[in-house]
Symmetry: C2
Subunit: 336 residues, 2 copies
């Protein structure tokens, strides 16, 4: 690392109107920033590619909105290459709100150090925010009981595949919604999902009913949109809907209407519908991570990842993710 190094940055030149397209991004070069007192310079190792990245372009959510001209925001695993904090060693692996760039400077106190116990990528998938989102969302919000039916949308996605596997491990019947035959086959044959349906099937209503002969007790909703309305119609009394994301709403304008079944079906079926953000549960993070690591070790949760090489691939990686092309956790390897 020298003063001559460049910091490649992927900039979102302007906010999308309608679908996100790769031409809205531009790769630029900047100088590597210099950490001040108490700060650390971090080099991006693995960049997390998430549907939420697109949602951030729609306005403030649980974080501030992205504006045109900003370096694209993104969560990453990074390595400390320079540290002005005696408590943070060079070489440490940290979770950081790094952005789509080679380097970023952060106050050391805002960085969370990761002690890798599995291949690094696993700390962005099953042992990272993705796996924890599945774990807390399913077990702390959805609270399935053995024998219940758990329905999962975007079931082959980063969070969905872990939800499916954790629900099987909890003794539930698991039904996954996924858009391609390959994904559905993978879910059924590799991950032990009991049944799958395609949201592209014109007979979806009937097929979903057949796949859930005893109704749905927990619906883990990653998509919102028409699937949420359909799931509401299949919920059992005292069912729970885990609101994890709204992928169907992200890549375009904000939705004009919500599900028709709300609040009518919530009342008649006594449903609980609850949103959450993984950070809310971080008091329990260590225990959840241990449990996920144990599940990986005993084979009850397989690690499903989709790693793409090169920072310059990040725009296409996100556009492709929004189109549903990934199976498992998509990430971009920026440096080895």
């Amino acid at each position: 690392m020298s003063a001559n190094d460049v910091n490649r940055q992927v900039v979102l030149t302007r906010l999308p109107k309608g679908h996100l397209t790769p031409d809205l991004f531009e790769l630029r070069e900047a100088t590597v920033p210099v950490p001040g007192p108490g700060e650390a310079l971090c080099r991006t190792r693995l960049l997390s590619i998430d549907a939420a990245n697109r949602a951030w372009m729609q306005g403030a959510t649980y974080r501030s909105a992205i504006e045109g001209g900003d370096v694209m925001a993104g969560f990453a695993l990074a390595e400390v290459v320079e540290s002005n904090d005696p408590g943070l060693a060079v070489g440490a692996i940290v979770e950081a709100d790094q952005g789509w760039q080679d380097y970023a400077v952060h106050p050391a106190r805002k960085l969370s150090v990761v002690q890798p116990r599995l291949p690094l990528s696993n700390h962005l998938s099953v042992l990272g925010v993705t796996g924890l989102t599945a774990w807390f969302g399913l077990l702390r919000v959805g609270r399935p009981v053995a024998g219940e039916t758990v329905l999962v949308s975007a079931a082959a996605g980063a969070t969905g595949n872990v939800v499916c596997q954790l629900a099987k491990r909890a003794g539930c019947r698991v039904v996954g919604i996924a858009g391609s035959d390959d994904k559905r086959r993978y879910l059924e044959t590799e991950l032990g999902v009991d049944a799958t349906v395609s949201h592209r099937d014109p007979e979806l209503r009937r097929i979903l009913k057949d796949a859930c002969p005893e109704g749905v007790d927990v619906y883990f909703d990653n998509t919102a949109g028409p699937l949420l309305d359909l799931a509401l119609s299949r919920m059992n009394m005292h069912g729970r809907i885990v609101c994890c994301g709204a992928v169907s709403n992200y890549d375009g304008d904000a939705p004009v209407a919500g599900p028709r079944g709300v609040p009518g079906l919530l009342v008649t079926k006594r449903l609980r519908m609850e949103g959450f953000i993984v950070m809310d549960f971080y008091a329990e993070r260590a225990a959840a991570t241990d449990d996920l690591a144990a599940a990986v070790a005993d084979g009850s949760v397989k690690v499903v990842e989709d790693v793409i090489d090169g920072l310059e691939q990040a725009p296409q990686a996100l556009v492709g993710l929004l189109a549903g092309e990934n199976v498992g956790k998509r990430m971009v390897r920026v440096s080895a």
Copy 2:
């Protein structure tokens, strides 16, 4: 009571299209039914007039749908006038799915005996299903904490007024939504509600914001519709929405769309939205009734009732209730 007595019945001649109107009902005379073994003949004393009566005309909910030609369904306090069950005494007051008629026969085991401790009408309002709905919905579903802001729609209605008073008693700031100046004045001056807004005010969005300067922690939703969407926009992090009813959806066709903020705002604000039916909590009914009686005794809950005389008035009473003309619990006195 003799064989010559008639049983007046209000029949819903056909299902409404659009708004409910009194001409859809017809008063007929039938013979008084005769109780069989284990059954009891019950004379209607007080008929509960509820927005839910209208919802039952839209299709099956938590009870089967009403069809054209049926005696109108309705909940009532009734008096046992003939009993073929040794465990049920003549003269007992019972809660019954009586219908809009003078007399009905029920299996004795399906009747719940009321031990009147306050004027009988109070057992249909604050100590009856209405008060219990407020108590369980607010305290068991909404779970407000002292100092939080509780927003209540249909605040001057049967359930709403009790919710407002229980929330004040729990140490909350209470904001009520009501459609007329009279109702709003009543809520503020008689029931101690901190602020009120009218849903008819064209400036509602701004006014609601002013009335809830610290946001909303619990929204007790009796109406659904645009108010629910507006409340969603004012909810604080980790807020709770108690789905009690959807009055705005009942008197017409089923809604075509739900609230836009669902599920997006549920996720970003980590909201819980939960429906309930009072019967779900009946294991705790005695304790809740005792607490409500204590609140009435110490003056922290005033009993607000709107009693109309005469079975033949029931259609207009329901139509008027759907138009929002009542303050407090509306009921029809059928016999003294």
